[in-house]
């Protein structure tokens, strides 16, 4: 281990210091949630194409059995979190702010929790070839578990196209309230580090930076201790500042280079993976277990007893709430993830998914929604923005309907971290303006595509109509000619006949 304490860090711009509220759940050891009576496993828990179901209603499945296979280059398969019977494949409310439903496999656990017998653990994981590691990660359905849910295997295969030198393990957990990564690092540092080493192998890099914010001294100590025998892993304590865990900003802090706009951190030779992803990679390769569960922090002022819970994918969130003693009051907001970038959830009916790292039930006092006031151009948002944007101007243009101008101002460079809206004295929902604009732009692009398509179809049709008309005309002409010829013949004939008679 290198001397982590004097590791040179680079400054990033902006950022905020929200009250981290981690003490609510930081001292709660991870507990396993009792088996729920029903599991709802969505087919889309990742970025990319949804998985294609392989099971039908009434089928019996074993724990770890493939339920739906990935389709397309960017996708991830889904496995049965326990043994039981498939109750159906159909729409169910998604783990999503919209409250829309998404194709979901419903599984009724039989309580036996029997593993499938075709598990394929590796006897000697560290001798596996990089391709083999990435392949096993892909088959295990592992996605970025920090919340981004990008299929991890795709990221492990980046070595093919980029010249990589460093793997960064993101243990920053900069979102307030969340403690699931903290607990994981404290309780299972060896498993995490084994996963990290495997990922480093898959990426073919010889240098690993394990970055943890300084507000988690126990996790830092545990990981340092476990990594003390490794030369390639440097454990780095990060200053506590939001959004330190943002991939691009984390890399800048550690490496001192900004990721080019519209590019990947791989452009500067770095790949970032989350701590929980590392643990999942460990399980997939050492035990052959696909991604079936994850650790979630259930916390917030409206939760009776905040906890860190090991949850099967597909568990309805209401089970989690019950396990934590229920609500102390009707939550003002129900949030998936942290309070800065998390998504509001319509209800606790929705299932836990691969990317959900926390369930927040915020009390009225915590949310303290103030009335929106006009912008006073105080530039707080400009100073808070880690991306060097001018949020107030972007929001002004979006409000006025000129989305294109907001794009010119850098709308698409916004990472939606929420620092601007956090500091805004006028309580303007800046991030929502940006998210709305991004969505609206995408929708306009779709409608433009459709319009081009419509035009093409219309032209095709009018061409066809023209052809049909022409054909008809020609046919008519032909018939006319034939008729005339016939008439002529008949006339000749009758003339001949007349002459004969």
């Amino acid at each position: 281990m290198t001397t982590a304490n004097i590791f040179k860090l680079f400054k990033i711009r902006g950022g905020v210091h929200p009250d981290d509220k981690k003490r609510l759940s930081a001292d709660q050891a991870i507990e396993k949630l009792p088996m729920p009576s029903l599991l709802h496993i969505p087919l889309q828990q990742h970025i990319g194409a949804p998985a294609e179901p392989l099971v039908r209603r009434g089928e019996e499945v074993k724990k770890g059995q493939l339920l739906a296979r990935n389709q397309g280059a960017i996708s991830a398969p889904v496995h049965a979190p326990t043994s039981g019977r498939i109750m159906g494949v159909g729409g169910y409310p998604a783990h999503h702010a919209s409250g829309l439903s998404v194709r979901t496999i419903t599984l009724k656990p039989d309580g036996k929790d029997e593993w499938i017998d075709t598990l394929d653990p590796s006897d000697d994981p560290f001798s596996l070839a990089p391709e083999e590691i990435a392949d096993r990660v892909a088959r295990a359905g592992i996605v970025g578990m920090g919340g981004a849910t990008f299929p991890s295997a795709v990221k492990l295969n980046l070595r093919k196209r980029y010249q990589l030198h460093t793997l960064v393990i993101n243990g920053a957990e900069c979102e307030p309230y969340l403690t699931c990564d903290d607990r994981l690092m404290r309780e299972q540092p060896e498993q995490v580090l084994d996963g990290v080493k495997l990922m480093a192998k898959a990426l073919d890099v010889d240098h690993v930076l394990f970055a943890i914010e300084n507000n988690k001294p126990e996790a830092l100590a545990a990981i340092r201790e476990a990594a003390s025998d490794s030369d390639m892993i440097s454990v780095v304590g990060l200053p506590t500042r939001y959004p330190m865990g943002s991939e691009k900003h984390l890399v800048q802090t550690l490496v001192g280079k900004e990721t080019p706009a519209r590019g990947l951190t791989a452009d500067i030779g770095v790949v970032v993976h989350n701590v929980a992803t590392a643990r999942a990679v460990h399980d997939a390769i050492f035990s052959g277990h696909p991604l079936l569960s994850r650790i979630m922090t259930v916390t917030g002022g409206a939760v009776q007893q905040p906890k860190n819970v090991d949850v099967l994918i597909g568990t309805p969130l209401s089970n989690l709430v019950d396990f934590c003693g229920g609500f102390t009051q009707t939550p003002e907001r129900l949030v998936s993830g942290g309070p800065m970038m998390g998504q509001p959830l319509p209800s606790t009916r929705v299932p836990a998914v691969k990317g959900s790292n926390g369930l927040l039930a915020l009390s009225t006092e915590e949310v303290k929604a103030s009335d929106e006031m006009p912008c006073i151009r105080c530039a707080s948002c400009v100073n808070a923005c880690p991306c060097g944007l001018v949020p107030l101007e972007m929001a002004n243009h979006i409000r006025g309907g000129s989305l294109d101008t907001s794009v010119k101002l850098g709308l698409l460079d916004c990472i939606a971290c929420g620092s601007c809206a956090y500091v805004c004295p006028s309580h303007i929902p800046l991030v929502q303006y940006f998210n709305y604009a991004k969505g609206e732009l995408a929708a306009r692009q779709r409608s433009q595509h459709k319009q081009i398509e419509t035009k093409r179809l219309t032209e095709l049709r009018s061409e066809r109509m023209e052809r049909i008309k022409k054909a008809k005309r020609e046919a008519m002409m032909k018939r006319k000619k034939e008729m005339e010829a016939k008439k002529k013949r008949e006339a000749e004939k009758s003339a001949v006949e007349g002459a004969e008679s």
Binding site: G342, P386, C424, H427, Q432
Partner: protein, 362 residues
């Protein structure tokens, strides 16, 4: 589908609001204001009250006409602060209607007509001050020596009422030019700076605030403390004050060194007049100053440059209000051209390109 429109986060917020910002500014103005009120006695207190009252009244009326909710906008403290700043720049013994007309000008003409808080192009207090100065040059340039409250020279309560609300010529007894005004006249008459300065208020008097002038021009020390408090509280940043005062001091030093006879020395420039008040409280006005740090530095330099130019070469002894307004007019331009560099992009807005630079990836 759920009916309620989902709201995106963050779901936690910094303890920050417009009224808190305005409140902090007022707190930091308080020491200098109290000292000023003490120095100039009851007439100053009356004028202060009239100006603030006038601003609140005008704000309430304008909000009512515009059909906006009165309470949240009146409670945000912006109208009060505008009145406060305006009162700080008026001659303390000016008649009541100066304060009232100023308040109406500031709130109605300079703020609400533009669309209310956050929309105004110019600093309302400075618009009012400049309009008053041009319209009522006599009343706006009649300054007096400080006569502290309860001191023997100080006018009594009733006399003070007469000074502010009636017609009293008591001011003639104590009237005095401001230091800058005095220096300007003397140098204009061909008297060397050193001789002129010897007759006026000394530097320490300027610094402590024992010189003639408007309330906000007196105690440089207390204003400086207030300004530093604002920077400490992160309501403002150091960029505008430092660049403005730095430019002013630099220019004053250069010219004074070149020609000490005709050019006022830098410390007098800094501590007399409204330089400090302007640098920390008026040029930094959130609404009318640029939002990027580089823009703010440019803005501050511009202010310093104009203040020095107006004080030295133009017809008025003090040019802070004009300088700030001129730079206010440049703010949209500055904000348009000077923006922070976007993460992952170069100054021109193109994505960073490490490959073409030939830089080693590591």
């Amino acid at each position: 589908m759920i009916e309620e429109k989902p709201v995106f986060g963050p779901y936690v917020h910094a303890k920050n609001s417009i009224s808190r910002t305005m409140g902090l500014v007022m707190i930091s103005l308080l020491p200098a204001t109290l000292f000023g009120l003490y120095q100039f006695g009851w007439p100053a207190i009356f004028l202060f009250a009239v100006t603030l009252g006038g601003c609140l009244f005008a704000e309430a009326m304008a909000l009512r006409i515009a059909g906006k909710p009165i309470k949240p906008f009146l409670m945000d403290g912006s109208a009060l602060l505008t009145g406060w700043l305006l009162a700080m720049t008026l001659p303390p013994w000016a008649p009541w209607w100066i304060g009232l007309v100023g308040a109406l000008l500031a709130i109605i003409v300079a703020k609400q007509v533009f669309g209310g808080i956050g929309q105004n192009l110019f600093n309302p207090a400075m618009v009012a001050r400049v309009a008053l100065l041009i319209s009522f040059p006599l009343e706006m340039t009649l300054f007096n020596q400080p006569v502290p409250l309860f001191s023997s020279q100080a006018p009594g309560f009733l006399d003070s009422l007469a000074i502010t609300f009636g017609s009293s010529d008591a001011i003639d007894a104590v009237s005095s030019a401001t230091t800058l005004g005095h220096l300007k006249t003397e140098i204009g008459r061909g008297i060397a700076f050193q001789d002129a300065a010897a007759e006026g208020a000394g530097l320490w008097q300027l610094f402590w605030g024992q010189a003639a002038g408007s309330m906000g021009e007196t105690s440089a020390l207390l204003l400086l403390l207030g300004g530093l408090f604002l920077i400490y509280k992160k309501v403002i940043t150091w960029h505008i004050p430092l660049s403005m005062l730095g430019t002013l001091a630099l220019l004053a030093t250069i010219f004074h060194l070149l020609d000490p006879q005709n050019y006022v020395e830098p410390l007098t420039h800094l501590f007399s007049g409204a330089a400090i008040l302007c640098a920390f409280f008026i040029a930094t006005d959130l609404v009318t100053s640029p939002v990027s740090t580089r823009g703010q530095i440019l803005f501050g330099v511009g202010c310093g440059l104009l203040v020095y130019a107006i004080r030295t070469w133009a017809g008025y002894p003090e040019g802070v209000a004009f300088a700030v307004m001129l730079m206010n007019a440049c703010t949209p331009l500055i904000d348009h051209y000077i923006k922070p560099r976007i993460y992952g992009r170069d100054r021109k807005g193109e994505p960073l390109n490490y490959v073409d630079e030939g830089a080693d990836i590591r």
